[in-house]
């Protein structure tokens, strides 16, 4: 299979890339890992006129913990994040999810920022970023950084909040303000498959041992990655425990709207959401208490 013809450039600096994207307008598209874009181009679901390949822009690489954030650059591959002791120490939800994305070869190419920008409702990363309360950093020619709260970034199915000529340069995950824990649980039929169900959870404990912050988000059970604010509100300020977690899990299961498909019937997926939410909350609490 071959994509439709396109023009290609590989700028060496971010400024040059942003200038190209500005000039190209709707014709331009950023190529980072390409692990979703290239398959879509081969199937002719995407036919960009010009690809701006950012792989040679060194300043976009890497993952750093600084200024109160875990900063994931636009060229940080899933494999980089999965192997990063910095990520593991900074945010267990992000680190766990990185192990589950795609397969090892795709992880060597695909990027976290690219996956977030792609907004595939069955992708794992947007649930993670919803749960941890991330911020997306966008840049455009002549402009500074535009900080987009992740909860406003995913607009819809395959639709993000970027303006024409803008690109994602970084995702910032805030450092936890207290003892924290979290995980990403994913049910998949085989390695590399989309999730049947995915659940991202992140908890931060307050000084008195109550829950200070809670993030819960679901993959593949809604037309887009779904945060569950009702469950989060139920948790915040409360004393953590099995009964509370069972209630939150029940709220999560009732908030989603899974379809019956080859990966399983809707009722089954809903039951998995409840079970995984409960298990993820238990795991997050145990981690947070160990860190306290």
């Amino acid at each position: 299979m071959h994509p439709a013809a396109f023009a290609y450039s590989a700028p060496g600096t971010l400024d040059e890339a942003l200038r190209s994207l500005h000039e190209l307008g709707d014709d331009g598209r950023v190529l980072a890992g390409g692990q979703s874009l290239i398959p879509m181009m081969k199937l002719r679901l995407a036919e960009p006129g010009h690809l701006v390949d950012i792989n040679g822009i060194a300043e976009l690489a890497g993952v750093h913990a600084e200024d109160g954030y875990l900063r994931i650059g636009a060229l940080a591959r899933h494999a980089d994040v999965a192997a990063s002791p910095v990520v593991r120490a900074a945010n267990p939800t992000v680190w766990t999810a990185a192990q589950w994305v795609a397969d090892p070869l795709v992880r060597n190419r695909g990027t976290v920022c690219g996956s977030v920008a792609h907004c595939d409702p069955e992708g794992d990363w947007n649930s993670v970023m919803l749960a941890v309360g991330a911020t997306v950093v966008a840049r455009s020619a002549g402009g500074g950084e535009r900080l987009i709260p992740h909860r406003e970034f995913v607009v819809d199915y395959f639709t993000n909040a970027l303006e024409t000529g803008e690109m994602v340069t970084e995702i910032r995950v805030p450092s936890s303000t207290g003892p924290a824990g979290g995980t990403y649980l994913k049910l998949e039929r085989k390695v590399g498959d989309y999730a049947t169900v995915g659940v991202a959870v992140h908890l931060v404990l307050a000084l008195d041992g109550r829950i200070g912050r809670a993030g819960i988000a679901l993959t593949a059970v809604s037309p887009r990655n779904l945060a569950v604010p009702e469950a989060e509100q139920l948790l915040v300020g409360a004393e953590p425990g099995p009964e509370l977690f069972a209630q939150a899990a029940d709220v999560a299961a009732r908030s989603c709207s899974p379809d019956s498909d080859v990966r399983g019937p809707a009722d089954y997926k809903r039951a998995v959401v409840a079970a995984y939410t409960r298990r993820a909350l238990d795991a997050a609490l145990a981690q947070a208490r160990a860190a306290a």
Binding site: H2, Y8, G34, W100, D103, L105, V191, G192
Partner: protein, 187 residues
């Protein structure tokens, strides 16, 4: 567009269309047909090559993205002294049947051993989990990669502990989140 790619240590300059996939450039442009096209949808790993040492699916990389970079294909595994230990081990342990997935399996195995010279079975299965084999049930592939590791470490090439039990590969993968369902059938 003019590109120069170092393939198996040799520089090749070519004029390619931006939409040319790396796998097509290798097979058609350079005549290196050891890299296979299987699913053509980023699933099977038959087209695996090493790009700057990391295994990638060459059906999902444009040839222009390899400009100025190092590519290693199965044709480049063999050294001056003959077969690469991974190749020798696949032969010795019958790590293939039809052979279609084999170049990808061997390149992933070689890349894994370059990073981790003594992987346990779970680590081998984890590393190979993006590569599909529809013949063997994976048991002898895993055995071959581990045996190649022993060779590279200068140990005996046959691991008596591995024995002849082709079903020896059954195990869960503790601590590894996305365990590949372990096939039950032997070869």
């Amino acid at each position: 567009m003019q590109i120069t790619v170092t393939v198996n240590g040799v520089q090749h300059a070519h004029d390619v269309e931006p939409r040319t996939l790396l796998v097509d450039h290798l097979r058609t442009g350079l005549g290196l047909t050891g890299t296979h096209i299987g699913c053509d949808t980023t699933s099977c790993g038959a087209c695996t090559v090493l790009l700057d040492g990391r295994p990638v699916k060459s059906c999902t990389v444009f040839a222009v993205q390899a400009d100025g970079r190092q590519v290693r294909t199965v044709e480049g595994l063999k050294g001056p002294d003959g077969l690469h230990p991974v190749q020798a081990a696949f032969k010795e342990h019958h790590g293939l049947q039809c052979g279609f997935c084999t170049s990808g399996m061997m390149l992933v195995g070689a890349a894994l051993l370059a990073e981790n010279p003594d992987p346990d079975e779970d680590e081998v299965r984890w590393a190979l989990s993006g590569n599909l084999c529809r013949c063997t049930g994976y048991v002898n592939i895993v055995k071959a990669v581990r045996a190649a590791g022993a060779t590279l470490r200068g140990e005996a090439t046959t691991d008596p502990a591995a024995g002849d039990d082709v079903n020896a590969g059954e195990s869960a993968v503790p601590g590894t989140p996305a365990a590949t369902p372990v096939p039950v059938a032997g070869d």
